[in-house]
Subunit: 266 residues, 2 copies
Amino acid sequence: MRRHISGFSNPTVKYLRSLRDKKHRKRAGQFLVEGLRLLEDARSTGRLPQMLVMAEARAPHDLLARLEADVMAAGGEVITTTPDILSKVTGKENAQSVAGVFDEWDTSLETLDRSAAPIWLAAQALRDPGNLGTMLRTCDAVGAGGLILIDDCADPFSAEAVRASMGAVFTVGLAQARWEEFLPWLRAGTGQLVAASLRDAVPYRGADYAAPCFILVGNESQGLPEDYEAACDLRVTMPMRGRADSLNAAVAGAVLAYEVLAGVER
Amino acid sequence: MRRHISGFSNPTVKYLRSLRDKKHRKRAGQFLVEGLRLLEDARSTGRLPQMLVMAEARAPHDLLARLEADVMAAGGEVITTTPDILSKVTGKENAQSVAGVFDEWDTSLETLDRSAAPIWLAAQALRDPGNLGTMLRTCDAVGAGGLILIDDCADPFSAEAVRASMGAVFTVGLAQARWEEFLPWLRAGTGQLVAASLRDAVPYRGADYAAPCFILVGNESQGLPEDYEAACDLRVTMPMRGRADSLNAAVAGAVLAYEVLAGVER
């Protein structure tokens, strides 16, 4: 279906704007993705928006035309509107000329196949959506199966997380679980749980990593709870040569992930 | 000197607010730092704010009292104000209860002593202040001498960069230079320039790193210009097992920095 929206007070505009808010995203089960590049990443992995919103006076573009056709063929909606309304929807002065509304998908642990990859990232109580997106991007880079979000984390479907993931939110696995669900799930199969830790830890470099290896990173300011660390199979520590005792969470995860990659491929 | 400010229209309030804007920071040569933890990091390295701004109804605090005394002893100004005015200054609803105004310092290449550390980070046209701050934090962690910002980068004195640095902006070296200044400076002494690259590169792991090693990371979306890469002594590549061909800039810098750390200590 095709529609044109010319008024700011249109209910669809109000709905689209509401998706900037986590509470509304959860209620609707949908999220908004801005920019052709991310939409194309989604399309290439078989995910199409339910609704495509485009600014009218945009330049013609092959990729966009194909996306439009795919959305129509799948029974979705294509909406044209003014650049001003699109800016209002995305909350940015220089809005991208296209955005898409996607259904959120199932992020239960059961959707993950642990045998599909030698490395997995897990983050506990990760609060920063930029860190979350960066970890998804790192998953893609190291060939990790995906990211498991434990306890209360930032929303992986927020605009900032999606943007920082550079599209990896569509391509790598994603699960959300409480620790009380995660640990039994992990122990029901093979899997080595590795924490970046300062307590009772071995040097991260050349440690005895085994696939599938689950790298667990803690909250930005608190780190991991002590009992979570104790439940890990391996605690590793990275050199800290300065005044601080920790790295940025996404950085710590990536440095460890690259070390594990070298380890499991040895 | 001690002062109390109770009115939103006070010129000092206007001045403090103006420091959220890069143009005004550069004109004034000053920047604003929020929160006792960062102020304490600064104090511990001998940097005191010219002006300390505190909310009146704050809880008594030993560290804050010491900071206040130090600022007064150094001839600085201590200002008390309302929590509302402090929120207006920082632009945050839940403002920290204290902020400080620091003089920016000399960030010319001549302030760096390359023999002081085996590793240095350099970033070219880095646009994201969060990435910039994260790289400063990584410098601290790996014992790098500091961060060299090449060409037009984000402002290291922005609130976001200072916050992401977790105080490292005060403790590690910091320089800003054009490429045309940086390269002659580098070549005037010993120093290996290493780029993360996809072109004509060797595997990053176990490459022949030599101290002082300068790790060069490019712009978030463009990477490094080809002639910058060509000017490097060593081009290294990290495994990219997914769809994307790059990592987040701060992540790439950190993964490389930890590898170089292992290399130069071998």
